[in-house]
Symmetry: C2
Subunit: 373 residues, 2 copies
Amino acid sequence: MNVVAERVAIVGGGLIGGSLALACRAAGVPEVVVTDRDPAARQVARERGLAEVAEDLPTAVRDADVVVLAVPAAVVPDVAADVVAAAPSTAILTDVASLKSDLTVDVESRLRVLGVDPGRFVGGHPMAGSERAGPEAADGALFQGATWILTPTPDTHPHTVQVVSGLLRRIGARVLALTPRRHDELVALVSHLPQVAASALADVAGEASAEAGEVVLAIAGGGFRDTTRIAASDATLWRGILTGNRPAVLAALDAYRGRLADLADALARGDDERLEVLLTRASEARRRLVPKAGDGPVVDVVVALDDRPGTLAVATTALGEAGINVEDLAMRHAVDGGRGALLVRVSADVRDRALSVLEAQGLAVHVDVEEAP
Amino acid sequence: MNVVAERVAIVGGGLIGGSLALACRAAGVPEVVVTDRDPAARQVARERGLAEVAEDLPTAVRDADVVVLAVPAAVVPDVAADVVAAAPSTAILTDVASLKSDLTVDVESRLRVLGVDPGRFVGGHPMAGSERAGPEAADGALFQGATWILTPTPDTHPHTVQVVSGLLRRIGARVLALTPRRHDELVALVSHLPQVAASALADVAGEASAEAGEVVLAIAGGGFRDTTRIAASDATLWRGILTGNRPAVLAALDAYRGRLADLADALARGDDERLEVLLTRASEARRRLVPKAGDGPVVDVVVALDDRPGTLAVATTALGEAGINVEDLAMRHAVDGGRGALLVRVSADVRDRALSVLEAQGLAVHVDVEEAP
């Protein structure tokens, strides 16, 4: 078999499977077959022309070089067993589930029990999604520029990783390899821990606001809004995510609570030098982890807005026509639901020009600070 | 004296003092005098026509009904002493410093030592600012719709609060009264604690990224970006803010660490019901504290953008022309600095229409989720 996959079978024609089918076809993969156990999903896949649609799994995987298991995590081991029973003995398997440690162990064990080489499987996790589900939502550009993590184990054949990576790069994804455990740890740190941190913040502020009426709401600034935004997410969904990654989330929480203890300790002891060292290290980490679009200093220009369609367009059009690049954008709503403001981040070099351009449109503008002097 | 201030003296002609002078004049206050110990600041105030400019403090406050101490916190007690020596014995004093507990005690003690009734003073904190300083940046609309907190003590005369509130409402501010201590506690909770929480998050992720290369950066999603955004703030500035409000920040940190301990405990014990109860309470608190502009459900439409001026305007103009209200806006930059995306939050009712309008402009769009399925 060539290291370039020529025949790709996708089991599960939902958002991820359907989008992958479209992306593979757009990338010129010669044979793309999709199947789904749900006849309605197969029907939509056929109507949308996502790919060749097979009526059942054995037919779909019969000639495959690579089989993508785009099915829910809970059924991946069973579906993997069905696939190896019907696919060529050289076929490579990968999945798209969002947690990897336990699942990879389960799939490899299942293959071993069946006398199948577990080195033919590599776990995967595309860092892309949409709130819409099903083949109706399939989007061939979903993975363009997205990161797709692969999680090889010591049993995984290098050839397996090479073939799957090649396919993913071909559809425009950025491939990163991590061990399954490291994947779950990092997702815990950058996705699951922030959720818990934001929830705890919103909860303590909520308790205070129960006593202080609407005062908290009136004084909560942009910093509070940003740090707690994801706390408003669906609690049942997050219960599932956090408990699914329990050990890694607990480890991340431990590290986080340790860091908060360091900060509290420095503050309590009056060790203000140490406090500044910790804040500086954090500030440098944030700047390194989430680089700004531009490299130089930026300012947020605040444009007073009516909460009506149209005003926003006046501001952005005026900047666009003046050739001023908007590096970031946010809206700030008035506490009482009245007038809001648009925050437009521009390079500090063009600050004065941005202000003039906006003022020329009759807009009230000023440059923002996070903390009032 | 009437409860409506007719003669307002402002000591300190910087951003806050100068903006207040402009706002008072615009609101029709008959006499507004501003002074500043810096001759250059007085000169700018005069040139900009902020108000009548007095050469020295005694001249400025000579006939005042209300004197606003728009000077740095460290000199407020001294300036208050200078003011009571020169102002009418009925004049009311207020300040604009961002922390109130210690300062209010200091000012009241100083007045008492001078044999002056401390009931004539009430502390204040306007929740508004700009990164520009000095009278050059003065903006008569700075306090329009902003919250201005007053912090009376048991010694403060009701008349004092009544007069200052009346003046502030006249310039369009929203006045809230809190005890000095409660003010500092709430600011600790909604501004200072989020800073520490974000810094600790960025720091633990930064440590992981030191081991994991640029992987953390590649997998950090919108939740991580939002929760850690303010961690990039200036560490020296924040050292000053946190140490200035030490007891309240420590109390807020205690409450926060307690909440994190509850969440970690539920997760560690496998008490998933309890975990969901805590997450639900947090989600409800966030929704209550930061209500969305619209009341109903919303969706974030993701528009693929080139990082060029103009494309942004095409999207917002098309929505404006279609009468679709943009409830929130954010930009998402590609990890590698290439193509980015615009997140446009619209009411869920108009989702399909928003998608069509944007697609008609040749833009690639989809609806976002926080967590990939």
